[in-house]
Every structure is written in structure tokens, then in C-alpha cells.
Amino acid sequence: MSVATRRRPKLAVWKFASCDGCQLSLLDCEDELLALAGEVEIAYFPEASSATVRGPYDLSLVEGSITTADDRERILRVRSSSRRLVTIGACATAGGIQALRNFADVEDFVRLVYARPDYISTLATSTPISAHVPVDFELHGCPIDKRQLLEVISAHLIGRRPTIATTSVCTECKRRGTVCVMVAHGTPCLGPVTHAGCGAICPSYDRGCYGCFGPMETPNVVALTRQLRALDATETAIDRVFHTFNAAAPPFAGAGSDRA
């Protein structure tokens, strides 16, 4: 079948509350971008193109979390115009760092940041896309890893399930031969409970993992918390490290001392 006659699948990229970093990862595929554009029709991607093609779309990549009443409605329309919907990143998958409002009074937040709270309309919580519509696949990371993004898109084109490991960052350290920062240097590290995918970057820079890929499939948060205490981490420090970029992801949301 020639390229000219084959109907290319339509790709759409949607944004909700987020920093744009995950969709930027697509443009960061400098070596693959033009080849990708030959395989899919980039039908809706406002950050990259002013041309838009009407849906329905074969594959929708959704970045960002739901934080406004309008967005709660918009995601329903995105879902109904998408054959498959994949969330990209911690915001879309777990609510993102802005889900820290879920543990506070959002009205206090509005008053702290804005001189005219009456101009601001926002929901009391930041919630993942899966809380609103069925999601076909969730890609973790704050930000996502661009190789994993290419794997998700390629798998979709071929019609198979993406090959994305659900193990911990520890397995990636072992594979790349990084000495364990927690065992060897006593550096607190969330690697044992954090979803693989980044390639274990932080430990290779002499730094403990800070959990930006969120919880792995079956994390033992209790055991890790005990280990962090043994390394003299304060309860406040433990609480903070679990409650950052994936604060509302269930096993992390309940971690630490003062959250049930």
C-alpha cells in the first residue's frame, strides 16, 4: 500500500491543567518527529500547529488534570471523539502537583495567590483523567520519558499493547549498573516504590529518586517508610517526599505520618 493512498491514523494532543512539558516531549523527539508525522496525521496539536482537523481521532494524548468545571465537561467531549485515549504524565494520570490543593482548602489558596479571588473559578480538587472518563492507557512521569511516548504511539500504530514495565526504579538502577545510593551512601530514595520509566536518572546523578513517576504497580510504602526513618528522615521530610508530584496517587497519598 502506498503512503499516498493509506489513511494515516489521526493523532490529537489535548491539554488540561499542566506545564506543557509532557506534550513538549513529543516535539523533543528531534530524530523521530518527521518520520512520525509521516505515519500519523497530526490532526490536533495547537502547541505545534495552527491547522486543526476535525475528529473523531484515532489516538488522543491527554496532558493535564481536571481542575475547572469547564474542563470537567471538555474531557467528556475529548473522550467521545477519541477511539483510544492515553494520558501522558503525572497531572493526567494522578492529578499532578496541583493536587496538593486536595489536602487543603482551595479558597485559602485562591486568596493567597490572587488579589481578586472573585475573578477565579476553580474546583476544590485536581483529579486525574481516569476519575472522569475511561482511559485506555496511562503513561507515568513528571515529565514522561519520550522513548516511552514513542513506544505508546508505535504500539498503537501496530495495534498491540505498549511494552511499558510496571516494576520499580530499582530494577533500572540494577540494569544500568548504578550503585544503590540508599545502601551505599545512606541517601533517602523513593526508587523501591516508584514506577520505572525514567531510566533511573537521579541515582546516576548521586541523588535519591524523588518519585516523579509515581507509585509502581504494587509498592511497599510501609517498608520504605520504615527504611527512611532508619536513615533519620524526619516525619515532615517523609511526608513531603511522598506528597509532591504524585501527591494524590493512592499509595503515596496515604503515606507518611499524618495522612490516613
Partner: protein, 432 residues
């Protein structure tokens, strides 16, 4: 009585900007009566949830404000915390952080010049569409962008939200051999950047000059990136600590971004035009020469030519990155110890799109008590609105569709990062 007709043109989403916003221009009897740049980006309340966090966390948390310029956030935050704690990071540690910042400038400017802005001048909807007719321009652009991203990856650990910066220095200083892997890509990038200056200078620019105060950092002997005093084209010269006494933020009903003005009134802008005007002499000789060769002189007052200035800054950033790598010696320690102390700290650095100011108050344990962040796009919002008014008034004879496109291009002159400013750029021209 003459019949009054209201005509509205809408572009549902203003494309090729980072984030979502809307634009509304109201024209009554041939006069522009109202211009609003509306930023719908849902608020995420960073300044609120920073309270109660540790002073060492602010840099990684604030980097999540913007996936396009995370290093800018990291550097303004880390500078504020270090100054608060009485520490100044110098020598090779500073050189490494400046190298990382050059990487972000290269990546961000290459993205904006070629993928977001050049399609306006060459008449394409996107860089991908542009690639069909101008394959070399786009493949070169991607190589240039990649050279910047590689600096981010090697020095910072990854391209988006790098992980290597810490209060007091970096987590791990890269080996000389690691930095050496960047040289070939940067040398090619330098040639591409020089080509970008010639290419962008050949574009047709609308005839439009603005008379507005230009504000940027300045530091003797170096192009403003990671530190300096805040100076302006009209004689302002202050330390970053004095920023909030000279600039005010206002909340307007149509936008989630706060508008910045000079205290007591007066519009200003930040970004490439401001840096180029106030620190032209500090560009590398090659960058100055590239500007002179295409007849670009400081100050440049036409915001549409900001794309040429960005290309000149690309030459500079690549050139300086190569210099920093050539002069690099591995430091003895990756960071200096920093003990928290109660007080207030200020950090100002130059994000690719302009001055980014942070202020933090912390207690003796290092817990953050208050935070204030002023991103470049909120500082430029009034200037963008003023330009839109000026551009529309000169172009009223244009059909609505062309006028809409010209408005979008005017906004893109500022490389607005709406995620930063707090997104949906809907363009609406209303003629009464």
C-alpha cells in the same frame, strides 16, 4: 440612525504558543476600543502550596510551572535561596549551571524561532508542514534544538524538568569526557544558528515601532542569563531585592495572569529585545558580527524583528556553551553546604522569554513561609496588548481573517508562555 453591526471572528485556539489563552479585540467605528489578552490557563496555586515546604524543594517544585523553561525556574529559585542563606556559588559550579541555562536557551529559542514563529513568516500552519517545502530548514532546526536538549540531558539529567541543580551547586558535576560529547553537536549548531540569523533577517516585517521601557538583567562583561542587576533603557538600575518596590502586579477580570506595570504607572517589556538593547556589547564577537551583517542594531524597536534577535541570541548561547565546555575543570565538590537561616531572599534570572523574579521567606529551619513568583509573560502582557492595539489600528483595512493572523503573529513576537503566566487562546475580533 446608521445600522450598527457587530462582527465577530473567532479562532478557537491560538496555536503555536505554550499554554492556552484568548484574545479579544473590539473595533468601534474604525477605532480599537478594547484589547484583552485573556489567559484561561487554570490556576495551579504554586505560591500557596510552596508554603510549608523545605527551602531545598522550591527549585524542583517551581520547575513544574513550565515544561519549556524549567531551568529558568530552578535558577531563579536556587539563586533566591542561596542569597537568602548568604552563599554565592562561583567558579566551575556556576559555569556548569550557566552551561545548563545556555542549553535551555538553545532548546527554547530553536523551538520558538523555527517551530512556532517562522511558519507565520513563511506562510505555513506548522513546522511539520513547512518541512515538506523547506526540508533543510526544518531538519537543521531540529538539529539545533537537539544540541540544546543534549546539554540539558548531560548536565541536567534530562530535557524536561532536569534533576541535577541543588541549593549550593549541583548533585553531580559531570566529567570532562561527558561534556566533550556535546562539542560536535554544538559546533554544527553554531553554523545552523548563524544561518538562522540570515534566514530570519530575510523575512518581511510589518512596519511597526514601539516606544516602551526595556527591562533586563545586566552584569558587566557578560550577556545577562543567570544573574545581574535589573536595569532599563530609561535608566533604572536596581538590585533584585528592590524589584517589588519598582514593579506592581495587578489582577484584571479577564485573565488568570497578573499584569505587571512600573510602580506609579508605565508599561515595559522583558525578553530578547530588552536584553539585546541593554547588553549588546556583551554578546560574543561572533553573535555581534552576525547581527551587524544583517543590519540589526541595538536597540531594535520593532517587536516583529524579535525573531532575528532570538536567532542572534542562539548564536551567543551556542558560542558561550562551547566556551564554557572548553574552560571546564571538574570541581572538587559538586556543591557547597548551605545552612538555612530565617529571612527573605530574591532571585532574578533571564528565562528565554525574559526576566523571571522569585522571592521567598523562610524560617530558621528552612521552611518556606511565603513565596512570590513573577514570570516574564505576565510582565509582557500589557506590552502585548499595546502592540495589538497599535497593529490593529494600522491595519483596519485588512479582511478579518488576515487581521486575525496578524494579531496571532503579534502575540507570538513575545514567545508567550501562558503555562508560566498561569491557557485556550481564542482570538476574537469584534467590529461594531
Amino acid at each position: 440612525m446608521p445600522e450598527r453591526r457587530t462582527k465577530t471572528i473567532k479562532t478557537d485556539v491560538l496555536a503555536r504558543v505554550e499554554g492556552e489563552g484568548a484574545m479579544r479585540v473590539r473595533i468601534e467605528s474604525g477605532r480599537v476600543t478594547e484589547v484583552q489578552l485573556r489567559i484561561y490557563e487554570p490556576p495551579r496555586f504554586f505560591e500557596a502550596f510552596l508554603r510549608g515546604r523545605d527551602f531545598t524543594e522550591a527549585l524542583d517544585i517551581t520547575s513544574r510551572i513550565c515544561g519549556i523553561c524549567p531551568i529558568a525556574y530552578q535558577m531563579s529559585a536556587v539563586t533566591a535561596m542561596e542569597s537568602l542563606c548568604g552563599v554565592e556559588v562561583g567558579g566551575q559550579l556556576r559555569a556548569l549551571r550557566r552551561l545548563l541555562y545556555c542549553g535551555e536557551w538553545i532548546e527554547s529559542h530553536a523551538l520558538h524561532v523555527f517551530m512556532l514563529h517562522a511558519p507565520d513568516f513563511l506562510g505555513f500552519e506548522s513546522a511539520v508542514a513547512m518541512a515538506r517545502e523547506h526540508p533543510t530548514i526544518v531538519t537543521d532546526a531540529l538539529a539545533l534544538k537537539k544540541a540544546g536538549n543534549e546539554v540539558m540531558r548531560v548536565v541536567g539529567g534530562r530535557e524536561v524538568h532536569p534533576i541535577n541543580v541543588r541549593v549550593g551547586g549541583v548533585h553531580r558535576a559531570p566529567r570532562k569526557a561527558e561534556l566533550a560529547t556535546l562539542v560536535a553537536g554544538l559546533e554544527r549548531a553554531r553554523e545552523i544558528a548563524l544561518g538562522a540569523v540570515r534566514l530570519t533577517a530575510s523575512f518581511d516585517f510589518p512596519d511597526y515601532d514601539q516606544d516602551i521601557e526595556l527591562v533586563a538583567l545586566a552584569q558587566p562583561g557578560e550577556y545577562p542569563i543567570d544573574r545581574g542587576r535589573i536595569i532599563s533603557s530609561t535608566g533604572l538600575d536596581i538590585a533584585p531585592e528592590e524589584y517589588e518596590s519598582r514593579f506592581v502586579e495587578q489582577h484584571v477580570p479577564w485573565s488568570h495572569a497578573l499584569h505587571s506595570q512600573r510602580t506609579g504607572g508605565g508599561n515595559y517589556l522583558v525578553g530578547p529585545l530588552a536584553r539585546f538593547a541593554t547588553s549588546f556589547a556583551a554578546l560574543t564577537p561572533l553573535a555581534r558580527e552576525a547581527a551587524a551583517d544583517v543590519g540589526l542594531r541595538a536597540p531594535e524597536r520593532n517587536p516583529f524583528r524579535s525573531i532575528v534577535v532570538r536567532a542572534v541570541e542562539l548564536v551567543h548561547a551556542v558560542d558561550e556553551a562551547l566556551e564554557l565546555i572548553a574552560a571546564y575543570e571538574e570541581p572538587d565538590a559538586p556543591a557547597i553546604e548551605v545552612e538555612p537561616r530565617a529571612g527573605v531572599g530574591h532571585g532574578a534570572t533571564e528565562a528565554p522569554r525574559g526576566l523571571l523574579y522569585h522571592r521567598y521567606e523562610i524560617d530558621a529551619d528552612g521552611t518556606i513561609l511565603a513565596a512570590n513568583i513573577v514570570p516574564p509573560t505576565s510582565q509582557n502582557q500589557i506590552a502585548i496588548e499595546a502592540d495589538l492595539r497599535g497593529v490593529v489600528e494600522r491595519s483596519l483595512e485588512l479582511p478579518d481573517e488576515q487581521l486575525s493572523r496578524l494579531c496571532e503573529q503579534t502575540i507570538r513576537n513575545y514567545d508567550p508562555c501562558i503555562s508560566c503566566a498561569t491557557h485556550f487562546l481564542t482570538l476574537e475580533v469584534e467590529r461594531c
